[in-house]
Amino acid sequence: MIRTRSRRVGEGLVCVCVCVCVPAVRMSTTSQKHRDFVGEPMADKPVTALSGIGETLGKKLEENGFDKAYVVLGQFLLLRKDTEMFTDWLKDSIGANSRQASSCAQCLKEWCDAFL
């Protein structure tokens, strides 16, 4: 009886470790928002649908005249789809940080690769 109990404990621990470690090793940083945006044509989606752009940044973009996602796409295309220059522009015009800007740039780049 004792033998089987300790064996079960061991097996349980093994399962827990595997379940925790395997997804941790295979991490990637595309969020659900990113996947939602890149999965379909953007149509008339607002700027807040872009990955990395939340309420605050969305408002600032709208103030600058970029009220829809396709307008931001326009700016991205004007810069010849250069993610570095686009992130610079985002940081400059609306004060996004590096993570948000690169997330948005990556999102747009993948959308362009899929639909443009």
Partner: protein
């Protein structure tokens, strides 16, 4: 400026970019257009007026800077077309230069010009390194010249190099690297080149986004950007393996412990029986 535009007729974003280009502090983001127009009139139009009226004074001041300016145009003073042409010269293919993109391209050109300056200094240093010991006195004079003016004339350096026979291997190396460059009567005409990554005294300072890489490398880089780096993956794998091994060993130990314990119990029972038997006797 080729022509002066009425600030009130410009878009707010254009006003903003103009202000940034002239290093004027921007007002808070929520300000009205009138604030921007005012600032624009105050700083930029004054500057233009000053430029137009005091040309002679400026020329005297500019003469000193001319050798530098001839090679290094100030990005914010260029027209859109000039900016585009200068960027193309540096190997960058710019998109349309509009109000929103102008500032970014100016900044890019500024970075490229700075890296040019660093390259020229490195080349000068390299030339000095290769110079012969006999020419040391001449070099010392040259060093002083280099110290005073930031832009050493590359043709002078090549003149010195070509005049010395022991420098032949260096010259040939240059010719191999630049087979298409036009040769002047004095030697090789050295043009700007990309820095050799990681070479002595030429550390990688700027990574150009458009440096030639294969599509596979680009893909790999993009994928690697949002996956966990390989070292961390290996480390995590080793840790997990150790944990599993420890668990396995513990389970084995507890198994053997319990079986050992059972054996001991049996032995104890036997000895107790023996004692009892002995006691009874």
């Amino acid at each position: 400026m080729p022509f002066v535009e009425e600030p009130a007729h410009l878009f707010k974003s254009r006003l903003k970019s103009d202000l940034v280009a002239h290093n004027v502090a921007l007002p808070p983001a929520a300000s009205k257009k009138a604030v921007y127009v005012e600032l624009h009139l105050k700083h930029i139009d004054q500057k233009n007026a000053a430029d137009f009226s005091s040309d002679e004074e400026d020329r005297a001041g500019e003469d000193k800077k001319d050798p530098e300016d001839a090679e290094m145009p100030v990005p914010s003073c260029l027209t859109d077309e000039d900016l585009k042409a200068t960027l193309r010269k540096h190997g960058v293919k710019p998109g349309p230069i509009t109000a929103s993109t102008r500032v970014l391209y100016e900044r890019k050109l500024h970075k490229l010009l700075q890296s040019d300056r660093c390259e020229r200094l490195n080349e000068a240093d390299k030339a000095i390194l290769y110079s012969d010991s006999e020419e040391e006195e001449k070099q010392q004079e040259k060093d002083e010249d280099l110290g005073s003016e930031k832009q050493p004339d590359p043709s002078d350096q090549t003149q010195q190099e070509s005049s010395q026979p022991p420098q032949e291997p260096v010259k040939d190396a240059f010719k191999d690297i630049l087979p298409d460059s036009k040769t002047t009567p004095t030697g090789i005409y050295v043009t700007r080149r990309r820095p050799i990554k990681g070479a002595a005294q030429r550390p990688v300072q700027y990574s150009y986004p458009d440096s030639p890489v294969s599509p596979m490398t680009q893909q790999r880089r993009e994928v690697e950007r949002y996956l966990v780096p390989i070292h961390i993956q290996i480390l995590v794998f080793i840790i997990v393996a150790c944990v599993l091994y420890l668990i396995y060993v513990n389970v084995e130990d507890s198994l053997s412990y319990w079986s050992y314990g059972e054996d001991r119990l049996l032995v104890q029972a036997e000895s107790q029986d023996a004692d009892v038997d002995y006691a009874q006797d």
